[in-house]
Amino acid sequence: MVKNTIISAAKANSLYWLGRYEERVYVTLHLLRKCYDKMIDGDFDDYWPIRQRLDVAGRYKTNEEFTLGIMYDDSNPDTVIAAQTRAMDNAILLREDILSETLSYLEMSLALMKECRGKQEKNVICMQPVIDWSLAFWGSAEQRLKNHKALYLMMMGRNIENLDMLLRFDYDFERIALAYDSVKHYFRQMPNIVDEQVEEQLDGLLVQERFDLGDVEYKNGLLKLINQLVKL
């Protein structure tokens, strides 16, 4: 059978957003684990900055409500389960490209989250398989995606989400510069879908001399530009 190598606009969109949401699952869980560790026996000031950023709208009153909410509250778009559901919604449209084996890691993650929610598991460690399966998902995708453009679109989504999250959580310049480098690596593979003007602006802003995430205007400007980079 003659294999199709071109990607439709709808499929490109699904690939990109699958990459973004799956990375959001991974990074949110990583941050939640950090916060959870500090909440075990730490002072308020130890965990509050990260807790506040994970629960921007201040939905959850106690630490326990917060932990359960960030893991299982699917009415809140910032939670792990909400991101996993959206990753799945995109992935389900891509079975023929990513193959059932790759898709199965997301199926298992979502099923586990629902099971843990049913049991009201409070310890974040119950989500460890989700971290493992997320990494397995990426490994499997890299291995099995025969259409390289499809893989680049997913990786672009993944790296843009990573950059976005690092900025929101005020990571240092070195980490952010590295993440931006990764984004640019994938841009070089598919230059047609990148907004060059936005890229130029970002190049000018993401330099050591101007880097100041304490400046709200600067930070919001960066976030806005990052989310305008890809033309899909």
Partner: protein
């Protein structure tokens, strides 16, 4: 036959976990809300002996060959109508007859590339055809993936039993698509989208055959040729569309104008012979419940052979003799509305009250063409495992026949069973489950 399946039965929970892992689901709309649910799988297979299968295979090939000849005839010479074998009212009043298809020559003369023939086995061991599905029969993906999983979970079962491989269905499909495509371009599977009840199957077949899964809006027609549109406005020629969209939604410029699922002008490309449509448009005229009655006659008419497979004893109230018989025996017959599908519009006379029987009788008197009646066949029940108990339930078999340059019967099939002990209705949309179908090699 010495069949050893204990290990497989013991692995039931593991098998179901794997089904969940692979997202083996189907969608159901209830009260306008879409829900996806796992298709309940029973690990005890339906077992068909080598000799029974040889008989079925021969009969299925014969039946589908005759149906394909009938479809060609209906849309071309109409010999079977002129010769008085099938009354013209049954053809032209059928909802599945599409006058727009008159004179179209599908690639290779094939109409029903994928036929799903529903059969039951009577308690006496006799097989009966209950229904021919020639439009977009679904369900083959379930036994395919079930076999994939059961082989992983219980390899010994397949060492100990000589079961014919069934994972070649995707190869049958892709070979047939290649033959119909004839090198014109890529082959696609056109799905109505994520919220279609058989979406799992559409995406699974795309994965397994190497075809592209196309959504409404991905395909367009230019100069009577079909193309798949890329993100940079590039286009690639499409030579074959395995469409999982109903006839009436396929071309909004010719059929249902409000359809967003189809491809404007695809019928022009099809008429010009620039794209193959699998299955052909207009096949509904041959799988109409009324036309079913005539299929054995078609076999004799077109092939000059005795039909190998039997229909369930069927009566058409359209004929005076049958009309009288049906009205007299309505309380012990099963009555089917020819315009319904999916297990809907099927009533058993024995389940109706006196008033309901009277109401049905009046409906038949009003519109005799709308109904068929059948004797209730005493199906052979199959064992299923309910919790940890073996119970017996009604089951049918959907056999799949793939026709390209040649006609092949897939050595497996979808065995569906009712989970309700008092019901004959096995459809998944009505709560039924499924089994793998083993065809034994010896």
């Amino acid at each position: 036959m010495n069949i050893r399946i204990n290990e497989l039965i013991d692995s039931r929970d593991t098998v179901n976990k794997w089904m969940e892992r692979f997202g083996v689901r189907f969608g159901v709309y209830k009260h306008g809300v879409f829900n996806e649910q796992l298709f309940p799988f029973d690990s005890i297979p339906r077992i068909i002996s080598h000799s029974d299968w040889a008989y079925l295979e021969k009969g299925l090939k014969q039946r589908v060959t005759a149906l394909n000849k009938f479809l060609w005839d209906v849309y071309h010479d109409k010999r079977i109508i002129k010769d008085g074998i099938v009354p013209e009212e049954f053809v032209y009043s059928s909802k599945g007859y599409m006058p727009e298809c008159e004179g179209i020559n599908p690639t290779g003369g094939v109409y029903a590339h994928i036929a799903g023939i529903d059969l039951v086995e009577g308690k006496d061991g006799q097989w009966y055809v209950l229904e021919d599905n020639l439009r977009i029969p679904s369900g083959a993906s379930y036994p395919m993936i079930a076999r994939e999983i059961t082989r992983k979970v219980s390899p010994q079962t397949f060492t100990q039993n000589a079961v014919t491989e069934n994972r070649n269905y995707s190869k049958l499909l892709s070979t047939m698509m290649d033959e119909m495509n004839d090198g014109r371009g890529i082959s696609v599977i056109l799905t109505p989208g994520r919220y279609n009840s058989a979406y799992f199957e559409h995406s699974y077949f795309a994965e397994k055959t190497g075809a592209t899964l196309a959504y409404p809006g991905d395909l367009f027609v230019e100069d009577n040729k079909v193309y798949y549109a890329g993100i940079y406005k590039e286009k690639t020629r499409v030579g074959c569309i395995y469409r999982r969209v109903s006839d009436e939604y396929m071309d909004p410029l010719l059929f249902e104008a409000s359809s967003l699922l189809g491809i404007p002008n695809v019928m022009q490309a099809y008429k010009a012979g620039n794209v193959a449509l699998i299955n052909a448009i207009g096949n509904g005229v041959a799988d109409d419940k009324g036309i079913y009655y005539f299929v054995p006659k078609m076999v004799e008419y077109y092939l000059g052979e005795k039909p190998i497979l039997q229909n369930a004893p069927t009566y058409l109230p359209y004929f005076k003799k049958d009309y009288d018989y049906v009205l007299e025996n309505i309380q012990r017959l099963v009555i089917k509305d020819v315009s319904e599908a999916g297990g809907y519009g099927v009533v058993f006379g024995k389940d109706l009250s006196k008033e309901q029987l009277e109401e049905l009788r009046n409906l038949i008197i009003d519109q005799p063409r709308r109904w068929i009646a059948q004797e209730v066949i005493d199906f052979k029940d199959l064992e299923i495992l309910e919790e940890d108990k073996l119970v017996e339930r009604k089951a049918d078999l959907r056999a799949f026949v793939v026709s390209g340059k040649e006609t092949h019967v897939w050595s497996s099939g979808l065995t569906r069973f009712s989970r309700n002990p008092d019901s004959f209705v096995v459809n998944s949309s009505q709560g039924g489950g499924f089994k793998d179908t083993w065809v034994m090699e010896e």
